[in-house]
């Protein structure tokens, strides 16, 4: 399913929450995290250095964004700097890295072929607001039932939706909810592109 929703910025936070649980992204795989963020998503070096302080790839804490490579089906999670000793320990290049040596990412793959692929992105805390809109506007992939849950939990969004197109057909929010929550399609992957009216 392909879904295109035009929304008022006011209701953006409800959609941003999808990103903390993770959404699929179609992009390049076989590239380093740094390459992905910078060259494929257009995030600046300065932003990466200053704001993306905690990074996980496939459950492991990453120190070197240039070496760790995203693979088909990988899970990449990005966060700002976190509190607490453990929060500090989990940061990239943390002074306390030895504390979490057991879960530190060590790249085992030598050369990977760069190709089109699918991986999962998770965004946490301060990065949700900063980078969330970038991903939502580029397009995210998730099970239809998760989108249905957003509509069910926040029916007030109906007043701030400017238009919905499902597989190139115009539908209203109720029709969309019915479709996304029906047994036939709730498990199906849905590509969602948000058009945010600023």
């Amino acid at each position: 399913m392909g879904l295109n929703i035009k929304i008022d910025k006011k209701i953006l936070p409800f959609f941003l929450m999808l990103l903390q649980e993770g959404v699929g992204i179609k992009s390049r795989v076989g590239v380093s995290i740094k390459d992905m963020l910078k060259n494929h998503l257009g995030i600046t070096d300065e932003y990466i250095d200053k704001r993306i302080s905690t990074v996980f790839l496939d459950d492991h804490v990453v120190d070197d964004l240039d070496k760790a490579k995203i693979k088909e089906g990988s899970i990449l999670a990005l966060s700002g700097a976190m509190p607490g000793l453990v929060g500090a320990t989990l940061r990239t290049h943390s002074f306390y890295a030895s504390f979490r040596d057991a879960i530190t990412y060590k790249e085992k793959a030598d050369a990977l072929t760069e190709k089109k692929g699918l991986f999962k992105i998770k965004l946490f805390n301060v990065l949700l607001n900063d980078l969330g809109p970038v991903f939502l506007e580029k397009g995210i992939i998730l099970e239809g039932k998760r989108m249905a849950e957003v509509i069910k939990r926040h029916p007030e969004i109906q007043n701030h939706i400017k238009g919905i197109s499902l597989d190139d057909k115009t539908v209203d929010l109720y029709e969309l909810y019915k479709k996304l929550s029906s047994e036939d399609t709730s498990q199906a992957q849905c590509t969602i592109i948000l058009n945010i009216e600023h």
């Binding site: 879960i103 805390n125 301060v126």
Partner: protein, 578 residues
């Protein structure tokens, strides 16, 4: 702040109050002062609930001044939970008010003969103590309401709930916040039981007619405070993440790291984490008309707390913080923030440590008393404690006792105190601190971070595995020192990354007291405190065997990383070699 209030609850006839000079304890505050008094004046082998134990309540060195973040209060005693020395600290208003009245500490000693309950009023006219049996078995919220009716709403209160009156080992001492709600707790180690054993229900502090404490060098102090605040505001953790999401911002991160203990430390990841994360909590609070950003005391610039409203938009509790959300949430398989908030409210009202209670319920779930994920069952178990039933008293005695009663092998405690929200199998370094802290398992014992950057504790190579022992040692030293200042530990993040912010903190202390403390002096202070505490514990019967994590951390791998705790016992025994 040169006076000490000494209240002898066991005096002939009525409790006796003496106000004396700080004397030999001069220059000490917070944990430094509580641990010095306990070390010097309490027999290490005494029963924690006996007349020989003392309860010491001490503001920090900078409390009551214009210094930002200086509202922590330390409460010390011999712990009924661990059997060793204890310092638990809390935010709220009492620290600032007590300091402005000129008191460096309240020491409550002795034990009343009967079962009468007392309230203490401290104001500019002195100290008054009165019998008030009408307060018996009231929750902290109702107790504070009664004090407001009697003394007005410009007071602050330090109180215990029914758990403290029943002298349960998981009981806390509540301090009121800026809205005069009993939401800030010196939670750990059963300090509430010691207050209950002294027959004191509530201490009311009224600082009307007092002024801010004056520094010796006003200009230098003002400049240092300005730099300190600037440092806190510009740092991404203290200036952005904590104000926006509170400490619960850690849920998603620890979960992603696979170090988020779930189902009584069975797994390192919780499927419902996003439903109880700081991001979700903040959004819910804002949506319901609560607050996602709120300070627990005047002068707080980080404002990591919040106000949690129920579904109908009515106040339920303060924002449950990370440890609470984890203990009652992920650790018990509960992913409903409303139920977790209710558990937080009940803990605050009954006067219970949220970490100890969450872990205790996790152990009860492991025993099959209720199922993992049963939120209503968990609420009912906490209510059992308030009722004082036999089951409630067992649960209110903490995870270790509950594990013994129900025959559970997997009980996550060190020195009898429940482990906080970081699995030591995934993050070994925190396990070193859990195992060796004189306080029992305590995530805040190795929190303050100014080690190699400022050469506090000497230089170590953090990249070597053996560096974990040295790092834990230095973190514990720095934390003991910061715990003496009255500063909220959350300043540690800015201090970690910004040497000038650490320097500003030192400059504030120096300007206030007319001193010239250096980083070496801070190290010496921290070592001195830890040495006192370790010596007390040794005399109370502790050996190196008590500096160990429970056996299951070494033999049960935790998914998703399937790792175990691998620091050797011999290495743990070297943590305090200096």
């Amino acid at each position: 702040m040169d006076k000490i209030i000494r209240i002898n609850m066991g005096a002939q006839g009525n409790p006796e109050v003496k106000v004396e000079s700080i004397g030999e304890y001069s220059g000490l505050g917070g944990r430094g002062l509580t641990s010095a008094v306990i070390s010097k004046e309490v027999q290490p082998a005494c029963h924690p609930l006996s007349e020989n134990n003392k309860l010491v309540i001490a503001p920090g060195l900078l409390s009551g001044t214009m210094a930002a973040m200086s509202g922590r209060i330390s409460i010390g005693c011999k712990s009924p939970l661990t059997g060793g020395i204890k310092e638990a600290n809390a935010g709220g208003q009492p620290s600032q008010m007590l300091a402005r009245l000129g008191y460096a500490a309240i020491i409550i000693e002795g034990k009343p003969k009967g079962n009468d309950l007392y309230k203490v009023l401290i104001n500019k006219n002195g100290v008054r103590i009165e019998k008030d049996n009408g307060l018996k078995m009231l929750g902290n919220y109702e107790t504070v309401e009664r004090m407001k009716k009697e003394f007005g709403n410009k007071i602050s209160c330090i109180s215990i709930g029914p758990a403290g009156e029943m002298k349960l080992a998981a009981s806390s001492i509540a301090c009121t916040d800026t809205e005069l709600r009993p939401t800030r707790h010196a939670g750990r180690g059963g300090v509430g039981a010691v207050m209950g054993s002294k027959g004191v229900k509530v201490i009311v502090i009224d600082d009307e007619g007092t002024a801010m404490r004056e520094p010796k060098d006003r200009e230098r102090f003002r400049e240092a405070n300005r730099k300190f605040i600037e440092g806190l505001r510009k740092h991404p953790v203290t200036g952005e993440a904590l104000p926006a999401y509170g400490t619960n911002v850690l849920t998603n991160i620890l979960n992603e790291a696979g170090g988020y203990p779930t189902y009584n430390f069975k797994e390192g990841r919780f499927a419902g984490a996003a439903r109880i994360s700081g991001e979700t909590e903040a959004a819910m609070e804002t949506e319901r008309g609560g607050l996602a950003t709120h300070g627990c005391h005047h002068g707080c610039v980080i404002r990591c707390s919040g106000i949690f409203h129920d579904k109908d938009g009515r106040y339920l509790t303060k924002q449950p913080e990370y440890e609470t959300v984890w203990a009652h949430g992920g650790n018990c398989g509960i992913d409903d923030l409303d139920k977790i908030a209710m558990l937080d409210f009940l803990d605050d009202d009954i006067g219970l440590d949220t970490i100890e209670m969450g872990v205790t319920i996790g152990v009860a779930m492991e025993a099959g008393l209720i199922k993992f994920g049963d939120a209503d069952g968990a609420i009912n178990l906490i209510k059992e404690i308030a009722k004082g039933t036999s089951l409630g008293r067992i649960l209110g005695s903490g995870a270790a006792v509950t594990g013994k009663v129900f025959g559970v092998e997997k009980v996550p405690v060190v020195k009898g105190q429940a482990l906080p929200a970081y699995d030591p199998r995934a993050v070994h370094g925190i396990g070193v601190t859990y195992a060796t802290s004189p306080m029992g398992a305590d995530h805040t014992a190795g929190y303050a971070v100014a080690t190699n950057i400022l050469k506090v504790g000497g230089f170590v190579d953090p990249l070597k595995p053996e560096g974990q022992i040295e790092l834990s040692r230095n973190l514990q030293i720095a934390t003991a020192a910061i715990d003496s200042t009255g500063m909220c530990l959350f300043i540690a993040f800015a201090v970690l990354d910004q040497p000038e912010t650490f320097q500003a903190l030192l400059d504030m202390i120096n300007a206030f007291y007319g001193l010239n403390l250096t980083a070496d002096d801070v190290t010496a202070m921290g070592k001195n405190i830890l040495t006192m505490e370790r010596t007390f514990n040794k005399l109370a019967g502790f050996t190196n065997i008590h500096d160990r994590l429970p056996e299951f951390f070494k033999k049960e791998p935790v998914p998703p990383h399937n790792v175990t705790f691998e620091i050797k016992d011999e290495e743990l025994d070297t943590v305090f070699n200096w």
